[in-house]
Symmetry: C2
Subunit: 135 residues, 2 copies
DNA sequence: CCGCGGATTTAGAATTAGTCTAAATCCACT
DNA sequence: AGTGGATTTAGACTAATTCTAAATCCGCGG
C-alpha cells in the first residue's frame, strides 16, 4: 500500500510568520504579524497568516496568549511561563515563576481537575507607569 | 446651585441582567445573558445588556473573565479567585487558592511590576472528561 | 513529459463579538 | 407642564477571525 507521506509542511509563508515572531521580543497581534510578514513576502494574505499561526501553535513553535483586550497575541517563548499586564498602559511582559509544580498540585486539589499546566497572571503597574512616564 | 443628584442607577434592565448572572452557577457569555434577560424583559436590547454589564462590572457586582475562546464570560463571584479550564470539553470552574499574597509578591519581584492582583489558571481535564464521559 | 491528487495559498465574503449613534423614553425636580 | 441628564432601543458599524472557492504548488505514477 502507498505510504503517502506528505512532508513539505514548513512552507515559505509559515517560515516567514515564524521568523517575524522570533525576531520580536514583544507580543505581536495577528495584524502586527501580517504587516511584518508582508514585508518579507509581499503576496502573503491575512488568511495565510492565521493558517500559519495555527500550524505553528499546533507544532508547539509559538504560543498564543489572549486576555480581555480584543486581539490574541503571539509569543515566541514556548516553555511554561507567566505574564504581567500593566493596568495603565497595557504592557505585557513575560516572567517565570519557579516551583510551579506544587502550585499546580494545589490548584488541582482545589478544582478536582487532572492538572496539565498552570499559568499565572499578575495585574499591576509596570515600572514606566509607576515612574509616571507618559506613554 | 443645583445639587443635581442623579441616583436611579439600578434600573430594571440592569437588575434583570444582574439577576440572570446571580442565578447561574456557570459563566455565561453576553449572548447567553441576553437570551435569558429577554425572557424577563422582552424589550431589552443587546446594547443594553452590554451597557448593563459594563455598569455592573464597574460597580463591582460581577466579574468579566476572558480566555482564548472568543467571547467574554461573566462571573457572579467577585472576590479574587482562580479558574480551571478543561482542555477537552472547555468547562470552566472557579476555585480559590489561599495565601496568594506571597505568590503575588513573588510574581511582582520577578516582573518588576507594582502588584495589584494575581490570578491563576489551571489547564487540565475535568472529572467528567477524566472519567471518559461523552459530552 | 503529463497530469492527478492532496495540501496550501489567495482574495474576498461571511461570521462573531462588541461598540457607537441618534432618536425615543424615563424621571426627578421646577 | 417642562427641562435636562441618564438610559434604552434598534440598527449601523468595526475589528478580529474564520470560511469558501478558485488558483497554485509539488511529488509521484504512468
Amino acid at each position: 500500500m502507498k505510504d503517502t507521506k506528505q512532508k513539505p509542511k514548513l512552507t515559505p509563508q509559515r517560515e516567514a510568520v515564524y521568523q517575524v515572531i522570533q525576531e520580536r521580543d514583544d507580543h505581536p497581534t495577528a495584524s502586527d504579524i501580517f504587516e511584518a510578514a508582508r514585508r518579507r513576502l509581499p503576496s502573503i494574505s491575512y488568511a495565510t497568516v492565521y493558517n500559519s499561526l495555527r500550524y505553528l501553535k499546533e507544532a508547539g513553535l509559538v504560543l498564543e496568549i489572549s486576555f480581555g483586550d480584543s486581539a490574541s497575541r503571539y509569543d515566541r517563548e514556548t516553555h511554561r511561563h507567566d505574564h504581567a499586564i500593566c493596568n495603565d498602559c497595557g504592557k505585557l511582559v513575560d516572567f517565570d515563576l519557579p516551583d510551579t509544580t506544587k502550585l499546580m498540585q494545589a490548584a488541582a486539589r482545589k478544582s478536582h481537575f487532572k492538572p496539565q499546566s498552570v499559568h499565572l497572571t499578575l495585574r499591576g503597574y509596570c515600572p514606566d507607569c509607576v515612574a509616571g512616564n507618559r506613554h
